[in-house]
Amino acid sequence: MRQYMPGCFTWIKADPMGIRIVPADAWIDPARPVARALVTHGHADHARGGHGQTVATAETLAIMGVRYGVAEGALSAPYHEPISIGGGVLATFLPAGHVLGSAQILLEHAGERVIVTGDYKRSSDPTCQPFAVTSCDLFITEATFGLPVFRHPPIGTEITKLLDARASNPDRCVLVGAYALGKAQRIIAELRAAGWHEPIYLHGAMEPMCRLYESLGIPLGDLRSIAGVPKTELAGAIVICPPSALTDRWSRRLPDPLTAMASGWMGVRQRVRQRGVELPLVISDHADWNELTTTIADVNPAETWITHGREDALLRWCELHQRKARALALTGYDDEDD
């Protein structure tokens, strides 16, 4: 463990609106438009439009382009290449393994190294580069699934459940609710890897992001828009839609859909019941408890700050393992659908 010196990290401020890099007058994932924003990944609660300048990976900028239109003055940050952001601060974007283009941001200033993870996971994902373990003094981590009850199973077992449910209900279609960015493409890629090469049908809201993934070099196989497809053709098919569409009137066009929800919250029965789905799939793009704690141990920082999620339990874990830690009260992040 690096030697901790009191009074460090004064150049990093945790503000309810986001993380502020004081000497560079820049923010990470700010909740409101600012002059300069470093954005970890393209999910709407982290990447908002309207900043004066956005610094992000090329993939994240492309995702933001689909959502908000192309922003003026965007600065593309390749992985592993330090960028000077002013005020004597170097920023390096490192793969976070969360979704395509997602990054941890390593900040170096006054001899101190600080990593802001954004959202991340450690388990495998064919649609994005794996999390790069990097040493630092201060590790600012997410904690969306920061409770020891969250142990996400290997995605292979969940994909098998999905394919089994489809096979045993030949007259129905399997309707999978999944986040439009990242989760949907990961499931499609995993289905392809598991040997499912039939067309996969998409709700209209899923299409732009899937097309973008393909244009960025992530092959997703035969994808079709569901619009106008007759019911009879959909028996035995797999359809992917946003979670909100599962119970929407939209789903009435499908032949007796078997509803599935792909989310890390599906590991808890009460959440499954609230969703009212028949097939819970425990698939998350966030680190589970073991990944969160293993990562802190791997990175081995002098100090850990916990940004959002269930920080109490992770704080307690740090205390039990004699690690200095504090919880930040950041608002505006919403991972209910993950």
Partner: protein, 531 residues
């Protein structure tokens, strides 16, 4: 255990009654003995390991998991068994023993003591995955709470083996888990279990509400519908049992009744408390409220026995001296009952007298004039009716008194406000949208937050907390096991409600702990009352 664990989770995710029945039926058909018998026992809350309590699980977890992490996790998950199943630290070495079968779990747990229980449970948990651990803890602590009634399990059993559910009900009582004889009979490989040597419950004959049917009093006899609880008394081989409407043995709550029958007979009647709320010619009975304090007790004090003595007003005679009279017409059974009466203790038994009326108009007048708190209305029984289980069209009718009353099932409860803010005091209840044994669902028909006493409110609050199957903010969904008799002024058609009807001034008239949920009223009954 894995198959049982998968069944529990599948039941949890299957909202429709038919889907649940099919899942249970398939499990019962395809699983081996004795596992399926133990699963059935678990579904009907007939499993009890005295050495294992909810506290056993908490104690065990406290020795394995940091208490702060446990509390944070428990608060999030909302269920002790599930939290423990998820938090259980899996053994680092692969287990030499395979996952246990239910039968093996029963053998191991029933040999454990309070002291050894945590270690024994830990050994079993080590052999299971998270889903199996959840099922094991639920099974071991005897609290499934997955919204499956014993009745539903019995219907599923009947469906699994294509046997009549009434026969299942009749043979069920007297059998012990894992019900090997019952399975052997249902599968056709053995005769039915003998029922004549044991004090067994026989399914009650029930009445349809009288609506527009034309009744000729030459064919039907009229009788008061007394406002107590319906009971069945069974005496065989020196033992007497008092059974409630749902087939629960309530002998311990009414020892003076259980001790008063010495003839080998099966009797049907209304259990009442002596009182002066009304003056029947064979001694007065108190209103239903007086009976409330006697219900649900495991033991009764001498004081209570003296203050609120019980007696039974007899309606029918099913079996006498080993002779099954149920096939005989009502008039013949009635004669036999009247002949039997002098042989019974008059302090504990009297006869529900018939009402003389020349026609239905005269009867309506008599019924309207009966302002007696112990009279609920009038029963009309066909003089030729055999005694058959359940409700059979055209045989028995109940003609209840004003106000309008309907039996509903508690579905949701919400916290009240002000001094009731810590109580679940706002109740949403529903009626069946068809035959509950044929796949009907409960649809909410109204909401009420008064009509009960403070003591009843405490009971209701406790019931809600102990029978919660899901929580939605301030609202809890219950396992739909409690029946309310709801009184209301009128009912109107409404497009705003899924049930299509809205009640005016509904209130909880009475809590029917004695009535099983599947016997609550149907929506059509409510619709027929629309004005």
């Amino acid at each position: 255990m894995e198959r049982f664990a998968a069944l529990l989770d599948a039941l949890l995710l299957t909202p429709s009654r038919n889907g649940k029945l099919e899942l249970i039926a398939r499990y019962l058909r395809e699983s081996p003995d004795p596992d399926r018998g133990w699963a059935l026992a678990a579904l009907t809350s007939a499993v009890d390991f005295p050495a294992i309590k909810a506290g056993t699980v908490r104690t065990l977890m406290a020795s394995r998991v940091d208490p702060v992490l446990w509390t944070l996790s428990r608060d999030f998950v909302g269920d002790t068994a599930e939290t423990a199943s998820l938090l259980w630290p899996e053994p680092e070495q692969p287990q030499k023993d395979p996952p246990p079968t239910l039968g093996e779990v029963v053998d191991i747990l029933s040999q454990s003591t309070r002291g050894s229980a945590p270690i024994v449970l830990a050994g079993l948990l080590d052999r299971l995955d998270a889903q199996g651990r959840y099922a094991l803890i639920k099974f071991a602590t005897g609290a499934l709470r997955i919204g499956i009634s014993a009745r539903l399990a019995k219907v599923a059993f009947a469906q699994a083996f294509a046997v009549p559910v009434d026969e299942v009900e009749e043979y069920w009582h007297g059998q012990q888990p894992p019900y090997s004889d019952l399975f052997a009979w249902a599968a056709g490989s053995a005769p039915p279990p003998r029922t004549d040597l044991l004090p067994l419950f026989r399914p009650f004959m029930l009445a349809h509400p009288l609506e527009k049917e034309t009744i000729d009093l030459a064919d039907y006899v009229a009788e008061w519908k007394w406002d107590g609880i319906r009971v069945q008394l069974v005496h065989v081989g020196g033992q007497t049992r008092v059974y409630s409407r749902g087939g629960d043995d309530i002998s311990a709550s009414f020892p003076e009744i259980a001790g008063a029958l010495h003839l080998p007979a099966v009797l049907d009647g209304e259990l009442l408390i002596r009182g002066s709320a009304q003056g029947g010619e064979a001694g007065g009975a108190a209103s239903f409220n007086a009976l409330q304090q006697r219900l649900g007790r495991k033991a009764v004090s001498k004081t209570l026995l003296a203050e609120a003595p019980a007696f039974v007003r007899l309606y029918d005679l099913l079996i006498l001296n080993g002779e099954d009279l149920r096939e005989l017409p009502w008039s013949q059974r009635r004669t036999r009952l009247e002949e039997l009466l002098p042989h019974l203790d008059p302090a504990r038994f009297d006869l529900s007298r018939t009402i003389d009326a020349k026609d239905m108009d005269a009867l309506a007048e008599i019924r309207a004039g009966a302002r007696d708190a112990a009279i609920e209305g009038v029963m009309l029984k066909h003089r030729q009716s055999p005694y058959v289980a359940g409700r059979r069209t055209g045989l028995w009718y109940k003609w209840k008194r004003e106000p309008l009353l309907i039996d509903c099932v508690l579905m949701y409860a919400q916290r009240g406000s002000g001094k009731r803010s810590s109580f679940y005091s706002d109740f949403t209840f529903g009626c069946w949208n068809g035959d509950p044994d044929a796949g009907a669902e409960l649809l909410p028909v109204g909401k009420a937050y008064f009509g009960f006493t403070d003591e009843e409110l405490r009971f209701l609050d406790r019931h809600v907390r102990q029978h919660t199957v899901a929580k939605y903010g301030p609202v809890r969904e219950t396992d739909r096991s409690l029946v309310f008799e709801v009184a209301f002024d009128s009912v109107h058609l409404s497009k705003r409600h899924k049930s299509g009807v809205a009640m005016r001034f509904p209130r909880i008239h009475r809590i029917r702990q004695d009535k099983p949920a599947h016997e609550a009223d149907r929506l059509e009954t409510l619709r027929a009352m629309v004005t």
